[in-house]
């Protein structure tokens, strides 16, 4: 008997939305801490990742506020220069390695990848749990380096300084080395899952664009991260054995370290932004109630970004000593990145056109993403231009550029996705009114913080400096003020989610009236994701093929949840 026949013959017996009580709720199906610590359920692993990355975001965010507080006034404000060097290093390292890289793929991806593929789990559930514990183990190393040591190299660990700095750099790099393996194993798992675990009916042209983005990310995770691993291993050898690979006194070359480092870390930038774009696809389709315009172009642009990401690492090193021919080639290749990025932005805007747009809080983050990512992306073109980069290199302009992409892009994507999928993950609604207040605080605070840094950078304020000239005072003050507005916004959002977790109203299966596959199951989902193995008869954005029942938002007509 085929799956489809089973569905027909059981019709009326197995209602997909039937209330199975606790047995049909992955959060409550089994009880006790052991059922979480040793769970093989991708949803629970995803939730554990989510909790971990949020803690990392909190710690990294506190570091950011300390940095901005110190920089609010010229000269010493709250800490000494030496302390400041450590704090900005920790802000960078924690945010990059412990928060952004695992944020969307390991937390939201783990939770939704199998559900959106209509399958019960990732291909290798034990490996999935293993990569979570490897992440925890790597984090422990990093914490040791922070508590016991003195890491002030910046998150890039550039030689020759890192080779001479305090030995706690070794702990930090070992931590990052271990975190890398967590990332690689997650990537391997996702690649196998996307290829081999799709439910009947989900062919490549029906793959949700979230999956396409996560898939492209997984390819980079698998191919780029090992290069970072070997680089950090060589750095450790350099420190312990005086290998001489990066030390000019022994015949090595510090620029070689930069080549190695950016061969990973530029693709890693796409590990960070592609998942953000992936989430935005889902938000824009759902809240416009339209099929994504140019679906295949958007899907392929993710793959194109993944491939181009491997060819442009040299643009981080235009001023580090490369031949001028190399810089020309790297500059030209860098401009190519604008093409797939542009394809995405234009297709999203085209999707909005004539859509039935709702400005629910997740959509606000998606639209915020569009604006901020466009600014971040276009300023990236400035930096790819050789002559302009000479002026802007290592200034606040660069800092502002990558914060527009990483925070305005990835963090907005992550937070938008968190709002969007929160009802599915927890089965609870949150207060839309509070979510809106938090959004506007974060959006306005973000622009105040980082737009002033564009101006600072273009006027020559170097990045990472502890002190500055008086002429930069007003803009630094504005930037620090903005950082506090962001902080308040995120605090309000955090309180909102905690209240929702404990006291939120019960969420219906499909609160946003989405055609996406993940909304076909109950909220929170069944331990096996779907009560009946699904057979997909339409694409995830085929609103024209959806029945009214499928798009029913789950709320009775006369009932609107408070603040919604």
């Amino acid at each position: 008997m085929t799956v489809a026949e089973a569905e027909v013959s059981h019709d009326g017996i197995h209602d997909p939305h039937a209330d199975l009580g606790d047995a049909g709720n992955y959060l409550k199906a089994t009880k006790g801490w052991k059922t979480w610590a040793f769970t093989l359920d991708h949803k629970r692993i995803g939730m554990m990742y989510l909790a971990s990355v949020i803690v990392a975001f909190l710690v990294g965010g506190i570091m950011a506020l300390l940095v901005r507080t110190e920089l609010a006034h010229a000269g010493e404000t709250i800490m000494e220069a030496d302390m400041y060097n450590q704090v900005f290093t920790l802000h960078g390292a924690i945010m990059v390695f412990l928060f952004i890289i695992p944020s969307i793929p390991a937390a939201l991806g783990n939770f939704f990848l199998p559900i959106m593929l209509g399958t019960k789990d990732v291909a290798f559930p034990r490996l999935n749990l293993g990569s979570f514990y490897i992440y925890v183990f790597g984090t422990a190393f990093t914490v040791i380096a922070i508590v016991a040591g003195h890491v002030d190299t910046g998150w890039t660990f550039y030689t020759p300084y890192s080779a001479r700095a305090d030995n706690s750099v070794i702990w930090m790099t070992m931590g990052v080395f271990i975190l890398g393996f967590s990332s690689i194993l997650t990537g391997v798992n996702f690649i196998a899952t996307v290829h081999k675990m799709r439910a009947p009916g989900i062919h490549w042209r029906r793959l949700p664009l979230f999956i396409w983005g996560i898939y492209a990310t997984a390819v980079i995770q698998v191919l780029a991260t090992p290069v970072l691993a070997i680089t950090l291993l060589l750095l450790t050898m350099e420190k312990t054995l005086s290998m001489g690979i990066f030390d000019p006194a022994l015949g090595g070359d510090p620029v070689l370290f930069q080549h190695f480092f950016w061969f990973y870390s530029h693709p890693a930038v796409y590990i960070m932004i592609l998942p953000g774009m992936a989430v935005v696809n889902e938000l824009i389709a759902t809240f416009s109630q339209r099929k994504i315009f140019g679906y295949m172009f958007v899907a392929m642009s993710s793959v194109a970004l993944a491939l181009l990401g491997f060819l442009v690492w040299g643009h981080h090193m235009f001023t580090s000593g490369m031949s001028e021919y190399s810089t020309m080639v790297f500059s030209a290749l860098t401009f190519l990145v604008a093409i797939p990025s542009g394809v995405k932005v234009f297709n999203w805007v085209a999707t909005l056109y004539e859509g039935s747009i709702s400005f629910a809080s997740p959509m606000k983050y998606a639209l915020g993403f569009l604006v901020l990512f466009t600014i971040g992306g276009l300023t990236g073109v400035f930096l790819g231009i050789l002559s302009i980069d000479i002026h802007l290199h290592d200034t606040y302009f660069v800092v502002a550029h990558f914060h527009y992409v990483m925070v305005g892009g990835t963090v907005f994507g992550f937070v938008g996705g968190l709002h969007y999928w929160w009802p599915k993950m927890t089965g609870k609604m949150y207060s839309e009114r509070v979510a809106n207040i938090a959004f506007w605080l974060v959006f306005v605070g973000f622009n105040v913080t980082f737009f002033s840094q564009f101006i600072l950078g273009s006027r020559g304020m170097p990045r990472r400096y502890y002190d500055y000239l008086d002429q930069f005072q007003p803009l630094h003050m504005a930037s620090s003020g903005g950082a506090y507005i962001i902080g308040i916004g995120f605090t309000i959002m955090g309180v909102m989610f905690v209240r929702s977790w404990f006291n939120g109203e019960k969420a219906p299966p499909n609160p946003w009236a989405s055609a996406g596959y993940e909304w076909m199951t109950t909220s929170p989902p069944h331990p096996h994701n779907f009560a009946i193995d699904p057979v997909m008869k339409r694409g995830p954005y085929d609103y024209h093929l959806c029945t009214e029942e499928e798009l029913w938002d789950g709320f009775p007509e006369d009932f609107v949840p408070s603040d919604r």
């Binding site: 090992p226 054995l241 193995d533």
Partner: protein
């Protein structure tokens, strides 16, 4: 096949609950392993690039270094690994045919070869350590001791080892570029040599563990013509370990 998720299991006991068919489970495992192997290649690629760059900068040190490695030991190890790859491939075949005893025997031969490789590597390493032909900071430090030890007997031993090292270097210098003295970057050549062969050796040791685990599972009768996934992907891993050595051997031992 039942479409509902009752707790009763469908299909054979080794079919995990989230797969529909054995073929799907096999395909997923195999694809996952290939993705992992791609990762392994990129991991070693970083070292190959470091090797290539350093070699271009300091060809004379690399020439002397390669003369100081005994191609006969390296060649023997190449044969040992190639043979073990053959037995690993044959083990997959016999597992597919359901010949349990033969599979076990072939796996044991593969494991024996892996031990043989490590023993030969140990002979090479211990000779180098004894003479003090060690990476970077420990170059010309017999037994990792950089300062002459106290005590007449120990000092004589130390001096003798160091003298032997110097004469080995002099022979290699004579055989390669007929220059004088010790090329400075020889210390880095041995750094690269020990990192590359050391990481490869670590992979061999992990491989021994994996193969042993597969052998135990085979002894318990877990594999058959329907289900040989683990044997197959363990063999894939082993072939990669072999393949990396195929590149390491000429690069380190043979190229003048």
């Amino acid at each position: 096949m039942s479409a509902t998720h009752d707790d009763h299991h469908h299909g054979p006991s080794w079919l995990a609950h989230h797969f529909f068919t054995p073929i799907q489970q096999f395909d997923a495992a195999k694809l996952g392993m290939w993705a992992f192997l791609a990762q392994e290649i990129l991991f070693f690629a970083g070292l190959f690039v470091a090797y290539g760059i350093y070699r271009t900068w300091y060809p004379e040190s690399f020439s002397v270094g390669s003369h100081m490695l005994d191609w006969r030991w390296g060649g023997l190890n190449t044969c040992v690994l190639l043979f073990s790859s053959l037995t690993a491939a044959l083990a997959v075949r016999s597992a597919q045919l359901g010949e349990k005893k033969k599979t076990s025997m072939l796996l044991l031969i593969t494991i024996a070869c892996a031990f043989g490789f490590m023993i030969i590597k140990y002979i090479e390493y211990s000779h180098k350590i004894h003479l003090g032909i060690l990476p970077a900071k420990f170059f010309l430090c017999p037994g990792f001791e950089c300062v002459p030890p106290e005590g007449a007997a120990a000092l004589e031993h130390w001096n003798q080892a160091k003298g032997e090292a110097m004469s080995e270097i002099a022979t290699a210098v004579g055989a390669s570029y007929q220059g004088e003295g010790i090329p400075f970057h020889l210390r880095s050549f041995f750094g690269i040599y020990f990192i590359m062969t050391g990481l490869h050796g670590l992979h061999v040791v992990i491989g021994i563990g994996i193969l042993f685990w597969i052998w135990r599972r085979n002894e318990r009768g877990e594999f058959g013509p329907e289900h040989f996934t683990a044997v197959d992907i363990a063999a894939l891993y082993w072939h990669l370990v072999d393949l990396i050595w195929i590149f390491l051997f000429p690069l380190l031992y043979l190229i003048d």
